[in-house]
């Protein structure tokens, strides 16, 4: 599904954000990327849909290179990759429905989307996506009237409406409280299992990574230092990823329900 071939990202000032990463990700996997902040988790995720350009190497999505794509081709690859952000990235003044429909713009012409002439099928997709995350009754509310957890669910609905084959989630729960964290992670896991969407999540909390992921990738200073199933990700291996003993902040501390 995703082939990452020896990619390196060098910033203009010479520091390396990513250094020689090679990964192969299969369809339907639920991957947690862990590491200290600044280890390159966010850069890796944003390289996959090319919100950030890489300096060397290549990334293939379903066999086609996103690294070499441009224009229309790049946009159509991006359409297959949904992204969820730490700060939700909704348009706060627009309605929930409009935010979800924004996920459909890649399917239609500029003129049609700007005039707001989304086909009935798109509306149905949008409402079903909202229903999937249990928030359909808020469809015509303004996004900024919603709580943080609800806003993140709108963002998930936007990705669902996009009908993406891959979901990238960059610290999706870092701005949420423990209870809504669980709801959002459950939503992501459910989508992953029922729709078979490949999901890659950057996570800060060790217990969440272990509880939800099928595979854990550890990054340190832009390099992969761990890659294996959850069963192998012991406390000792986490300490290696972080380069220091695990501290209290890396536990969310909510028992699995």
């Amino acid at each position: 599904m995703i082939q990452i071939r020896n990619i390196t990202k060098t910033y203009p000032n010479g520091t390396k954000g990513l250094n020689g990463i090679t990964l192969s990700i299969a369809r339907g996997e639920f991957i947690a990327v862990v590491g200290l902040s600044g280890a390159g988790k966010s850069t890796l995720l944003r390289s996959i849909n090319r919100l950030h350009d890489i300096t060397e190497g290549e990334i293939l999505i379903d066999g086609s290179s996103i690294t070499r794509a441009s224009g229309r081709e790049l946009r159509s690859i991006r359409r297959d990759i949904g992204m969820i952000f730490q700060s939700f990235n909704l348009v706060k003044r627009a309605t929930v429905l409009r935010n979800v429909l924004a996920g459909r713009v890649g399917y239609h012409s500029t003129l049609r989307t700007i005039l707001g002439r989304f086909p009935e099928r798109d509306l149905d997709i949008a409402f079903r996506a909202l229903d999937r995350v249990n928030i359909v009754e808020k469809a015509y509310a303004r996004a900024d009237e919603l709580s943080g957890g609800q806003q993140q669910r709108v963002a998930i609905a936007r990705v669902l409406a996009q009908e993406a084959k891959i979901i990238l989630a960059d610290e999706p729960v870092a701005s949420l409280d423990p209870l809504t964290t669980k709801q959002v992670m459950d939503d992501l896991k459910g989508i992953n299992q029922e729709l078979g969407i490949t999901t890659i999540v950057n996570l800060h909390f060790i217990d969440l990574a272990r509880q939800y992921a099928t595979r854990i990738i550890g990054l340190r200073a832009g390099e992969v230092v761990f890659d294996g199933p959850v069963s192998e990700a012991t406390d000792e291996r986490f300490a290696e990823i972080y380069g220091r003993p695990i501290s209290q902040d890396e536990w969310l501390g909510v028992p699995a329900i």
Binding site: N89, L90, R93
Partner: protein, 270 residues
Amino acid sequence: MMTTKKQWHTIVQKPRKSRYRWLIYAALAALYVWAFAGIPFTGLKETAGQVTQAIFAGIFSPDWGYVYLPEGEDLLRGLLDTLAIAALGTFISTLVSIPFAFWSAANMSRARTVSASGRMVLSFIRSFPEIVMAILFIKAVGPGSFAGVLALGLHSVGMLGKLFAEEVESMDRGPQEALVASGANYWQMLWFAVIPQVLPGFLSYTLYRFEINVRSATILGIIGAGGIGTPLIFAQSSRDWDRVGIILLGIIVMVTLIDLISGAIRRKIT
């Protein structure tokens, strides 16, 4: 025993004031002497008191007959003309300001020179007084309200473009990122992520500029570019001080009302 100021100063040193302070004061004093000395404070007309009285009489006991005249050229029509010039001028400047805003907003282009050049053009337009622009437009389209509309429309771009650009710069980048990530093209990104965020700010600034333009439009008539300024100048040159008074009263009432309404709408949309 009392400790004197001098003794305290051996314990804590009094901060030394800059030696150039006196130089600055002297320069300021010289500047003011130069400024005031050059003004001729003589030659006031003896009739000043009389004229003032007549104008105030016009304000406080207005000639209501002038407010509405069936055959036209009355106060209401003059004020309406002024409002029309301001409204249309503001509308034109809003249209022109939007591309300028995206040109000169630092976060909409990669190269610093692009936004810097946009800001320079805006500051140039801003420094060009509307009344001078009106004089030039009169040469192009002839005297009348249309020249006033064009002058306000162009001059306002200087300020509106700057305010709009600041609004664009202060928006949240997140939605843009989300739209690009979902495969939107540039125009879709603009329409779905940028416009909804900046629209309320744009509207509010447009109304604010409208308030300013109503004031500006009252003086355009002085050089023949339409509005209430035209009858005001006529009344002034024919020494019809009562009429000057009621026109002033009309302007004060109109501007106050527009400020109130526009202010209320602005509070509602932001």
